[in-house]
């Protein structure tokens, strides 16, 4: 077991390349260390500690974008009053992650790279059309977050690439909301989660714990954009199952997840969306 401590991004990407893609970057370590000491790293494992890359920590605002660094934590965003104003959904989602002791360490980029279907940060980022900046020794690539995942714990990021930033367009939103259903409010893994955002770019409905990856519910988004009437939670179900595939596991059942998600969406959307409700606008 080897631990590398780069001081710059080019050093880090060179280490990733030279490890033949075996090295695993560590940011806040809240996912990597959670299995310790039960799962002691194998002798041939290589970790790259990113914490020395100070340039990756701060988030910054440009005229068009909020740019999160690879080491930007949930707490960094929670405590930025500007984020609460313009990206309330990120703050809302961040506050559902673990507890403050986790929020001060866990990073948005780590949430993406850990690729859990239950990730709470990812739906909020995806609902705000986040773009992931991937850097390798070869160069920089920008990948929309909604095209990042290929399947359970699989993504387009190559083993020699490092997430170096997450770009979020600054765009006025008419509505946004993040709902998490878990066993309890703090320190719970999501049974059903959804990020809802509406801007001039259209509706975004992004669910977690409802498929092998965090996923956009595109059929529902289209129905909302077209103002198709949705008169009861049951009207949501066939749209949701076109994109989602929940499972039975230790935390919940597929049927419960789907039922709850349909009801949560109905209750969130009915007050703000004319086509949703018992007498939803006829089309």
């Amino acid at each position: 077991m080897k631990l590398l401590t780069p001081g710059t991004v080019p050093e880090a990407t060179a280490m990733l390349r030279d490890s033949g893609g075996r090295a695993k970057p560590i940011a806040g370590a809240t996912d990597v260390f959670v299995h310790w000491p039960v799962r002691v790293p194998a002798d041939d494992e290589i970790f790259i500690d990113l914490s020395g890359l100070a340039e990756l920590r701060p988030h910054r605002w440009t005229d068009d974008e909020l740019i999160l660094g690879a080491l930007t934590t949930y707490w960094d965003v929670i405590t930025d009053p500007r984020a609460a104003e313009e990206f309330a959904i990120l703050v809302q989602a961040a506050r559902t992650v673990g507890s403050i002791q986790i929020q001060t360490r866990g990073t948005w980029a780590g949430n993406i790279a850990n690729a859990s279907p239950a990730a709470d940060g990812v739906p909020a980022l995806m609902a705000r059309d986040a773009v992931v900046e991937l850097t390798s020794a070869e160069g920089v690539e920008q990948v929309p977050l909604d095209a990042f995942y290929l399947g359970y714990k699989r993504f387009v990021m190559k083993p020699d690439q490092l997430i170096t930033a997450i770009r979020l367009p600054r765009r006025p939103h008419h509505f946004e909301s993040f709902i998490k259903v878990g066993t309890r409010r703090a320190q719970a893994i999501t049974k059903v989660g959804v990020a809802i955002a509406h801007s001039d770019a259209g509706w975004r409905i992004v669910a977690n714990s409802m498929a092998p990856t965090v996923r956009r519910c595109r059929a529902l988004e289209e129905a909302l954009d077209d103002q198709a009437p949705l008169r009861s939670p049951n009207d949501f179900t066939p749209l949701l199952t076109r994109d989602l595939a929940p499972i039975d596991d230790i935390r919940s059942t597929a049927a419960y997840r789907l039922g709850v998600l349909a009801r949560v969406l109905y209750h969130e959307l009915a007050p703000v969306c004319g086509s949703v409700g018992p007498s939803g606008a006829a089309s």
Binding site: K2, L3, G28, T30, F33, W36, G98, R105
Partner: protein, 163 residues
């Protein structure tokens, strides 16, 4: 516990205001460095997976679960542990029955003192949300929340305290 790790790494950090140099294994947890290298055994291990908060310490001014912090990431940083807390700060918690068996107490105290040091957090967060990372199986939490609320009131009334 774990099999012998690769070569040790020398790091320097500041613990409770004192600069210290330690030699740590690459995957050593800050919790273990504090307890077994520095003999600061006030910090307790509960779940060991970032859930219970018993091992809470303050790293560069923010509360963290020391069971999830690789010690090497604390290089060059400031760590405060339960040993740094002035016992006079605990009177409201003691009066309200915020502790019983004591397993969670060092972590509870670290979180509570952090809130006391940053009372503006109460503008955006409830005390229950601020303390949600510290599980307690004895008190039912009311004693902890009541004690923290009383301590916040008391510190507000001290001369020179902000609003």
């Amino acid at each position: 516990m774990s099999k012998p790790q690769a070569e040790k790494i020398e790091i320097e950090l500041t613990v409770n205001g004192q600069p210290v140099a330690v030699s740590v294994s690459p995957v050593e947890r800050l919790l273990d460095t504090l307890r077994y290298t520095m003999n600061l055994t006030g910090t307790k291990e509960g779940c060991g997976e970032g859930e219970c908060g018993a091992c809470t310490v303050v790293l560069d001014g923010l509360p963290v679960n020391s069971c999830l912090v690789p010690t090497i990431q604390a290089r060059g940083r400031r760590v405060e542990t339960i040993e740094s807390i002035d016992p006079s700060r605990l009177s409201e918690l003691l009066d309200s029955g915020a502790t019983q068996c004591g397993a969670c107490t060092p972590g509870v105290v670290m979180s509570a003192c952090w809130v006391l040091d940053h009372p503006d957090l109460c503008d955006s967060h409830s005390l229950r949300e601020l303390m949600a990372g510290n599980l307690c199986r004895c008190t039912g939490y009311d004693g902890i929340i009541d004690g923290l609320a009383a301590a916040l009131d008391a510190s507000n009334q001290r001369p020179g305290a902000g609003a």
